[in-house]
C-alpha cells in the first residue's frame, strides 16, 4: 500500500524533487547508521563518510570486475563494509570518547585518498557505478531518477524496519546499558567489547549500503564524493534528527538536502552580495547545529515526547 502511495507521489512530482527524494533516502540510511553507533551504543564516529566509501567501492568493483547483478552488489557493499566495521570496532573497542573521535576523523580523511594508490580503485577520477536503466515494462516516462528514488526509498524502508527491530531487541538494550554505564553493564553480564564491536559492524554495514546508494545516484565512485564534510554532514543530520532515536531520521535528512535552497531563498530576501550568498548555507548549518544541541539536544521528537510525558504526569498529580 505504501509502495502504491510512493508511486503516485513519484508521478506527480517533478524530476528535481524525485532526485532530492533519492538523496533524502540515502541520508536517512546513513543517519540511522550513526544513530545506532553513537546514539545507542555511545561510540562517537566522525568517519562514517569513509565507511560509505568502502560500501560504494565494493559495490562498484563487484559490478564492474565481476559482473554481479545489481541487487547483489548492494548486499556485497553491506558485507564488505560490515567486515571493515568489525575490524575497526575491534581496534576501537579499547578507545573511548575523544580517542575514538580522533581515530575516526583520521580515517575519514585518509581512507578515500587510498583510491589513488591502487589501480583498480580508479584514482581521483573514480570508477563508474551504473545500475542500469529502469526495466522497460515500467514505461517510457519512468525516468532514471525515478528509478533511483524507488531503489533508495525501498532500501531505506527495509533498513529502518530491520533497524528498529534490532534496536528494541536484547542487543539494543545491551547497547543502551553500556552507553549509560559501562561498569554496571559489565556487572550485569554484558560483554562490553563484543557489544561494541557488534554495534560497529552493524553500523558500518548500513553505512556501506548508504554509500553504495549514494554512488548510484551520482553514477561514479570517487574519493571526492566522500570528504570529511560528508562525515560531518551525517553527524549533523543525526543530531538534527535526535541522535537517540530513529523516529526523527527523516527530519535531519530533509534539512540536509533542502538547506541550500532555503539559504538561497533567504539570501534573495536579504538581497545581499555574492560573498554572503555563497557562504550562507555553511553559516546556517553551523548555527542550526549549535541551536539544536543547546535547545533540542535529544532531537525534536524526543522533545515532543518528553513534553507530552510531563503533561501526562501533571494531569495525574
Amino acid at each position: 500500500m505504501l509502495g502504491f502511495l510512493l508511486f503516485l507521489l513519484g508521478n506527480r512530482v517533478d524530476e528535481l524533487r524525485v532526485y532530492q527524494g533519492a538523496s533524502i533516502a540515502v541520508f536517512v540510511i546513513a543517519i540511522s547508521s550513526l544513530i545506532l553507533l553513537t546514539g545507542y551504543s555511545g561510540q562517537v564516529s566522525l568517519g562514517h563518510g569513509a565507511l560509505m566509501a568502502i560500501g560504494a567501492y565494493s559495490a562498484a568493483i563487484a559490478r564492474n570486475e565481476f559482473k554481479i547483478p545489481v541487487v547483489l552488489t548492494f548486499f556485497i557493499a553491506v558485507l564488505f563494509t560490515a567486515i571493515a566495521g568489525a575490524l575497526l570496532g575491534a581496534a576501537a573497542a579499547r578507545l573511548s570518547g575523544p580517542y575514538l573521535a580522533g581515530t575516526t576523523l583520521a580515517l575519514a580523511i585518509g581512507l578515500p585518498s587510498l583510491a589513488n594508490q591502487f589501480e583498480p580503485l580508479g584514482g581521483e577520477q573514480g570508477i563508474p557505478f551504473d545500475v542500469g536503466l529502469p526495466p522497460a515494462r515500467l514505461g517510457e516516462s519512468f525516468t532514471q531518477y525515478k528509478w533511483f528514488f524507488w531503489i533508495a526509498a525501498l532500501a531505506a524502508l527495509i533498513c529502518m524496519w530491520l533497524l528498529s527491530n534490532i534496536l528494541s531487541s536484547r542487543y539494543g538494550r545491551n547497547w543502551r546499558a553500556g552507553r549509560s554505564n559501562e561498569v554496571a553493564a559489565q556487572i550485569c553480564g554484558i560483554n562490553m567489547s563484543r557489544s561494541k564491536i557488534l554495534a560497529f559492524t552493524l553500523s558500518a554495514g548500513i553505512a556501506g549500503l548508504a554509500g553504495a546508494l549514494l554512488s548510484m545516484t551520482i553514477g561514479t565512485v570517487s574519493p571526492s564524493a566522500f570528504t570529511l564534510a560528508l562525515s560531518f554532514s551525517i553527524l549533523t543530520g543525526a543530531v538534527l534528527s535526535g541522535i537517540t532515536t530513529l523516529v526523527g531520521t527523516m527530519i535531519g535528512a530533509v534539512i540536509l538536502v533542502i538547506l541550500p535552497e532555503i539559504a538561497d531563498v533567504v539570501a534573495h530576501q536579504i538581497g545581499s552580495s555574492e560573498r554572503v550568498t555563497s557562504n550562507l548555507p555553511g553559516f546556517l548549518l553551523g548555527a542550526l547545529l549549535i541551536v539544536t544541541v543547546l535547545f533540542v539536544p535529544n532531537g525534536p521528537v524526543e522533545q515532543h515526547h518528553a513534553r507530552a510525558a510531563k503533561r501526562a504526569a501533571k494531569k495525574k498529580s
Binding site: G97, T103, F232, V276, L289, N298
Partner: protein, 301 residues
Amino acid sequence: MQLLNTILIGITAGSIYSLMAIAFVLVWRSTRVINFAQAGMALLSTYFGYEAVTRIGSFWLALPIAMLGGAIIAALVEVTLMRSLVKHASTGPIAAVAPIIATLGLLGLLRAVIAMVWGGQNLVIFPPVSNAGFTVNGEVLVFSPLKLLILSTTLVLMALLSLLFQRTNLGLSLRASAYAPEISHLSGIRVDLIRTLGWALAGAAGAVAGIFQTVNGNGNFSPDSIEFALLLVSGFIAAVIGGLDSLLGAVIGGMFLGVVIAFVLIYINSGLFFIAPFIILLATLFIRPQGIIGVRAGRRA
C-alpha cells in the same frame, strides 16, 4: 643530506602541530572537551593578525595582538556556548557527543563568517625574518631563521605553560577544576573563571599556530586554506598521540607526527599524504592506547 633535510622539515611542521596540540590539551585539561572549532578560532586570529600587520606594519606587534584576539574569542566562546552546553545538555546520552557537535557547528559558522566579512580571496602575511635556508658546507638546508623562530617559540611556550601548570597556584587550580570541579568549588576556587582562562590560553596558542602555519607556507591564507584543515586534523592527532593529558605529550606527539609524515612523504610516496596520519594514529593507539605520555585512568571521560 636528504636525511637531514627530511628531519628538519618534519620538526618544523611538527612544532606547528605541537602548538595546535597544546591548544587542544589546554582545553581538554580545563574543561574535558575537545574543541573542534580550534582551527576556526586560529583562522580568525590569523585574520586579526593580518589586520594588525596591515595597519600597524609590524609582525612583532601583530603576533601578540593576534594572540590576545584569539584568547578573547576563545574566552567568549567558553562563556557563552560551553556554559549553555553544560546547562542544557550535560545529562543523557547526548552529553558525550554534545560538545563535539557544538564545536563542529561553531567551526562551520566561523568559517562562513570569516568568508562573509573578508571574502574568499587569498591574503598574505609576510614572514618577519628570512625563510631562506642556512648554508652549511655549500649546501642549502631546509632550515631558516623563520623555522628556527617557530621551533624556539614552540619550546618556549611549552616551557612557560608547563611552569604555569606545575609550579603556580593558578596552575594547580586549573588542574583541580578539571578533575574535580565540585571539590575545587568548595575549596574556594572560582571554577568558572579558571575554565575560561584555560580556553583563553588555548585560544592564544592556537593563534600562534595559525600564524606560523601561514608564514611557514608562502604566507597565503583564505577561509578555505588547506593549511587550516591540516592544522585541525594534525593538531588533534598529535594531541591524541601524545596522550591528551600532558603538554609535554602534545609537543612530543606533534614532533613525532611531523617527522614520521616527512619520512613517509619523502622516502615512500608523497601520495600517502592523507593516509599516513591515520596509520600513525592507529599504530600508536594500538601499542599505547593512552598515548605516549597519557595516564591510563584519566583517559575515561
